[in-house]
């Protein structure tokens, strides 16, 4: 749906391939690459045109601010202070004076131009290698003016991809649960926002408890748990049309839903008589299949990106641990053997890692391990945190944290945080209210 809204024309101008800059994203953010994001130049007529429609004084600067902010928060880049720039944006976009940019220690330079053409927003941008004095990439987009923020995100993704060799994650959204009110009686609503926190929107009113929304990787559908009429069930929601429906017809609580990688199935738990087992429902023919059958609690299922395997947590060994099985429920293998309890396994979109929550000696950790359980690496420790969700490129995890209350039971809060796979670049993601249960969308423009 979003793709229809965004009329996006990519005009690829030939690029020079033998650039020198490479950013190693496996290394952490110890030495972020210094780069200059020159404000996109704009002629006076276009500036006035956009000011009228978008109520933004200079849309060129606004878009470049989005790019700058994205690149900075990635932890891999260090956008330099604009006050130090010597060359005017319009001239720089034609032909940068590389000595000037070299002088302020920029290794890469982003320039561009914005035009108001036939009531459309036309943006071109160029990425330059300052040391090699070469153009690395040049692209132009045309879209409706209201999509200006997305243009900033798409430019950020293109720059990230060109400099790191991996797809970006900026033109994405986060669905999460907004929380308000006292800890004993929280009001929870589904909410959605751009990856950078902009365009926050509430999708439910807070009349009933809602939990654990997850994006369909293939469309703008969301699955989540709602206590509508005090019957906790998994629901399917189309975030463009607002239509929703119960998933399946179960005589009890269904929960912990997630989509299959192709978006055609929902995998979830069904609790009955003190046991929770894993089921799938095919969204095309509505056929329900039972995947596990064990007297234990089997929950938090997540597919491998090829759809052939499922990871989940179970207390069949006596305590909550992580398991992997084939997608038909056969060959169940326990993979977590460290000290403590392990839960909420989520398969990386790259396929090689499983992110998890660990509880050990009263502390909660977010960590990753290989899919056979080897190479466990804990990324962050806290009083309470859980439910990691991967960025679509598998480089960043988003999760939520809750604070410890004081002796009077006051001071509770829940916030979204993100951390790089490297364990560096931990950041709080600002939300208008308290927040939990984040889920990261796929790239919107793919």
């Amino acid at each position: 749906m979003t793709k229809k809204i965004l009329v996006l024309l990519f005009i690829l101008i030939p690029i020079n391939a033998n650039a020198l800059i490479e950013v190693d994203i496996t290394r952490g953010n110890l030495n972020p690459l210094p780069l200059a994001v020159s404000p996109l130049s704009i002629d006076e007529e276009s500036r006035k045109g956009f000011e009228k429609i978008l109520k933004k004084e200079n849309i060129g600067s606004e878009i470049s601010n989005i790019v700058e902010n994205n690149l900075r928060t990635s932890g891999l880049f260090n956008p330099l202070d604009k006050k130090a720039f010597l060359q005017a944006p319009d001239i720089a976009n034609l032909k940068p004076r590389f000595e000037d940019w070299n002088l302020i220690k920029a290794q890469a330079l982003i320039t561009g131009k914005v035009n108001y053409v036939d009531e459309k927003l036309r943006v071109e941008f160029r990425l330059w290698d300052v040391l090699a004095a070469k153009e690395m990439m040049a692209l132009a987009f045309t879209t409706v003016p209201n999509n200006w923020r997305r243009v900033g995100h798409i430019i950020s993704d293109k720059v990230y991809e060109r400099l790191t060799g991996e797809k970006g994650y900026f033109d994405t959204r986060i669905i999460y649960v907004s929380e308000e009110g006292p800890k004993t009686q929280r009001i929870k609503k589904l909410a959605i926002m751009d990856q950078d926190g902009a365009n926050n929107k509430f999708l439910t009113l807070g009349n009933e408890l809602v939990l654990t929304p997850r994006f369909n990787p293939a469309s703008q559908m969301v699955t989540y748990l709602s206590y509508f009429k005090n019957m906790p069930r998994v629901y399917l929601l189309d975030i463009e049309t607002g239509t929703q429906e119960v998933v399946g017809d179960f005589p009890g609580m269904t929960f912990a839903p997630r989509f299959s990688p192709d978006g055609k199935k929902i995998i979830m738990s069904f609790a009955k008589d003190g046991k929770s087992d894993i089921y799938t429902m095919n969204l095309e023919n509505r056929i329900v299949e039972r995947i596990t059958n064990h007297p234990s609690i089997d929950t938090s299922p997540s597919y491998s990106p090829d759809g052939k395997y499922i990871t989940f947590n179970s207390d069949r060994s006596g305590y909550q641990q992580i398991y992997v099985m084939k997608n038909n429920g056969s060959d169940v293998k326990r993979i977590s053997f460290g000290n403590g309890l392990y839960g909420t396994p989520v398969w990386s979109p790259r396929g090689d890692l499983i992110a998890f929550t660990k509880l050990h000696k009263g502390k909660f950790y977010i960590g990753v391990m290989r899919t056979d359980g080897s190479g466990e690496r804990l990324l962050t420790e806290n009083y309470y945190q859980e439910a990691p969700s991967w960025s679509p490129n598998g480089r960043v995890l988003i999760f939520y944290r809750e604070t410890k209350t004081n002796s009077k039971g006051e001071g509770f809060s829940a916030k979204l945080w993100s951390i790089d796979l490297t364990g560096y670049n931990e950041r709080q993601i600002k939300t208008p209210t308290d927040a939990s249960d984040p889920s990261w969308s796929s790239l919107l423009s793919n």
Binding site: T212, P232, A256, D273, G274, I297, L341, L359
Partner: protein, 163 residues
């Protein structure tokens, strides 16, 4: 075992804090904790409401457990007797977990706890038709504290009149 250890450590830390503190009110809290928990199961009555005279509405559980204690079984027998005397009353068993677990696992754990209570009521002659199970996981704590006593109050199954 591990969890017991964690719990004991926490108690030790608490005890240490209390020794260091000269504040009298805090000492009272310490006695309270000792008087209100057995193992890590809540045995106090702070949060308990009554369905009828002598019929407590809730039972409490140990960390990660759904086993009914002797006291819990006594409470549930009183509930069963009350339900037999009031055949028109149906109940919802609301199962809860403390905040020290992952959300989804806690939903399942709350369901398991409420079912433990349901099974016991059924063995005392209450038809399953009269009982609905509803798990809230960690979503509806009664005590917003972040300490072992608060958590013990929150690990519960509450019997609520449905009509």
């Amino acid at each position: 075992m591990r969890l017991n250890k964690i719990f004991k450590n926490t108690l030790l830390v608490l005890a240490a804090c209390l020794v260091l503190s000269a504040c009298a009110t805090k000492k009272e809290v310490a006695t309270d904790i000792q008087g209100q928990m057995q193992g890590d199961v809540y045995t106090g009555t702070d949060t308990v409401e009554y369905l009828a005279d002598g019929v407590p509405d809730r039972v409490f559980f140990a960390t990660n457990e759904s086993i009914l204690t002797t006291a819990s079984r006594e409470t549930l027998r009183a509930q069963a007797a009350w339900l037999r005397k009031n055949p028109n009353i149906n109940v919802v068993l609301e199962g809860h977990a403390d905040e020290r677990g992952t959300r989804e696992y806690n939903l399942a754990l709350g369901e398991r706890r409420a079912n433990a209570a349901k099974d016991y009521l059924m063995t005392y002659g209450i038809s399953s038709d009269r009982i609905t199970v509803l798990s809230y996981g960690k979503e509806r704590p009664v005590d917003s504290g972040s300490n072992p006593l608060a958590w013990s109050k929150n690990r519960r199954s509450v019997t609520v009149k449905a009509n």
